[in-house]
Amino acid sequence: MAALLTKEKETTLYLGPQHPGITGNMMVELKLTGDTIQRAKTHVGYLHRAFEKLMEERLWMQCFPIVCRICVPEPDPNEENLARAIEEIEGREVPERAQYIRVLMLELARITAYLMWMGGQSGSMGLYTMPQWSIGDRDYILDLFEELTGGRVYHMYIWAGGVRRDLPVGFKDRVRKVMDYIESRLVDYDRLLFENAIFLKRAQGIGIIDKEKALEWGVVGPPLRGCGIAHDVRKDEPYEVYDQLDFELITHEGNDVYSRAMVRRKEIEQSIHIIRQVLDKMPSGPIHNPGPNPLKWKVPAGDAYVRTESARGEFGYYVVSDGSLKPRRVHVRGPAYVHGIALLEHLLQGANVADVSFIMNSLGTCPPEIER
């Protein structure tokens, strides 16, 4: 019998690029025997737009509309990164109010990304009520973005030296209202998804990351904190005003899909807590420290690496300037670059074919930031 089983024919299953379970546009090539995956190989590059090349052809100011398109569900960390990298090379100061507004934007974006992830994670196991709720609720935050920046998805709001617009009248109250609403909805989300018996059954013990290896594998963000390792860029290397805000670092033991889910679930609460503090503490003052005319704007020669904690983990930009009107090189490090290729291939070995999309979603694989 054992001999028969090992002789079982190996089939190849191409999951994607057109496949409803794949997050975005990528392909996972699976070698299966029966329902078990023997080997997995990811194929990326379906979304390559050559952003890094395009930025070498653009003025510094023209780079801001480009970078936000690198990560679609959560564009703000990109703008934040580019702005901070330029500020670091130039040595430009950012007014305190602008820093608070940036934190507000980043945390709102984090909540939208987590709500989107909830939809994806539960959609991957067929719980279609959850995406309908969470993506519908996400729209309330998108409305806030639209009021503040003019764009629902792409904001182009954070730029070098500060932010583009001040908060409209009554905006803080509307943010508070939306936060109250989302906090009240968390109870429903818990009942529907996080405490659902079938979700627990499916998520526990699936997609286990080796805890000892997690740091070496380059795991960041919620998957790392889901291994019980407390690292977060907001605490390790505080940027903007995160060191003046009080929030907790969420970790969860278990190393599996469920612990990653719980980390994200609890971080929504922390984000709401941060946003409330930001709204209370926000000082008045200027919002922008203007630079030279954008058409003649030369950034002095130098390089800088900056990082931001996005909803999927550490988002880093390496910006090199040669003192000219255009960047020499902007290199983007998306968390999904490691999670979506090396780690995913590793985790899929020996998994069930039913869990591919499940594991992918729990790692927050986002193809546009892999290939840029």
């Binding site: 089939t11 190849t12 299953l13 496949h19 409803p20 379970g21 299966l32 329902d35 539960s122 959609g123 991957s124 196991m125 067929g126 719980l127 279609y128 009520t129 309908q132 709720w133 519908g136 529907l192 659902n196 079938i198 979700f199 059954k201 499916r202 069930n352 074919v353 039913a354 869990d355 591919v356 999309s357």
Partner: protein, 300 residues
């Protein structure tokens, strides 16, 4: 055979399919309300099927691929012929005979097997995985289903559906109250048969595209959707006959079948799907155990 019976024989598949599709349409509406939205009109599924029939169909994967949906709907229609639909003053039962319950047990599987053969020939690995999952799941839910039927057969000492209906003359005598163990086992099997949420592992879009039908499009898919509506109706009527005392007229029939239809629907809205082996464990654990307890009680 009376001429009335022949007319019913021809008309019943169409009526059944229409009712089944309307139920599925209404279920889409109910789901939409739970999900904070309006949803499509209740007759949306019928529009979909008209559209699918009007599409060009230029796929070929061999003979069984063409025959699969046809055989499936044949199987469903023949099942319909053996299920007593109405009893009462204007009865509709076409080919009922002594022992039809045993025949039904077999013939209900026929449609699924035909689909499996057809989808298996399409060459799509998603279909192949879907077929193997479907057959596995069938093994799962057939066990409690058969046990439930055996309980009824032993209890009433008959294998005719009509006799079982006759035994349930008052509400208190409905089998849902008289043999609850059998009902629980059967309703668990029913969840698996309807393919609603915890047990939709066969069609799981996020895992295997849409499983067996992933190569079927156009008119084939139209046939399969019709089959889905009709098969839902057949199963609902059979369960009404077995556990809710049958139906005397169409209004009772619709009320009873719709009430039954709501059970898998509401479970499906708020639950994700099982993995294959979890579904198997589920079927073979509680419903089977309860069924066996019921069987022991009846035999004693």
């Amino acid at each position: 055979m009376s001429p009335m019976n022949i007319i019913w024989m021809i008309a019943m598949p169409f009526i059944g399919a229409a009712i089944g599709l309307l139920y599925i349409g209404i279920s889409r509406n109910i789901t939409a309300r739970v999900q904070n939205r309006f949803g499509p009109p209740p007759y949306q599924n019928i529009i979909d099927i008209i559209k699918l029939y009007s599409k060009k169909t230029a796929i070929t994967h061999g003979v069984m691929f063409h025959l699969g949906p046809v055989l499936a709907i044949t199987g469903t229609i023949s099942t319909l012929m053996f299920v007593p639909i109405l009893t009462g003053n204007y009865p509709i039962y076409l080919f009922s005979f002594q022992g039809d319950l045993i025949l039904l047990m077999y013939i209900m599987v026929f449609g699924c097997l035909a689909m499996a053969l057809g989808a298996g020939q399409s060459g799509n690995p998603n279909s192949a995985i879907g077929v193997s999952r479907g057959l596995t799941q069938m093994f799962g839910y057939e066990v409690p289903f058969v046990i439930a039927l055996i309980i009824l057969m032993v209890r009433f000492d008959t294998s005719s559906v009509l006799d079982i209906i006759k035994a349930q003359d008052t509400v208190a005598h409905w089998n849902i109250f008289r043999s609850p163990f059998s009902f629980i086992a059967a309703i668990a099997a029913f969840l698996g048969m309807m393919g609603n949420k915890p047990f939709d592992i066969v069609f799981a879009p996020a895992e295997i595209s849409s499983g067996p039908p992933s190569e079927y499009g156009g008119k084939y898919l139209a046939l399969m959707q019709t089959n889905r509506g009709l098969f839902a109706f057949v199963k609902l009527v059979l369960y009404t006959d077995l556990f809710l005392g049958g139906a005397g007229d169409f209004i009772t029939l619709i009320l009873k079948t719709f009430a039954l239809f709501l059970i898998p629907l509401f479970i499906g809205i708020v639950n994700p799907r099982f993995r294959t082996e979890q579904a198997m464990t589920f079927f073979w654990k509680w419903p089977t155990a309860i069924g066996v307890v019921g069987l022991v009680l009846v035999l004693l």
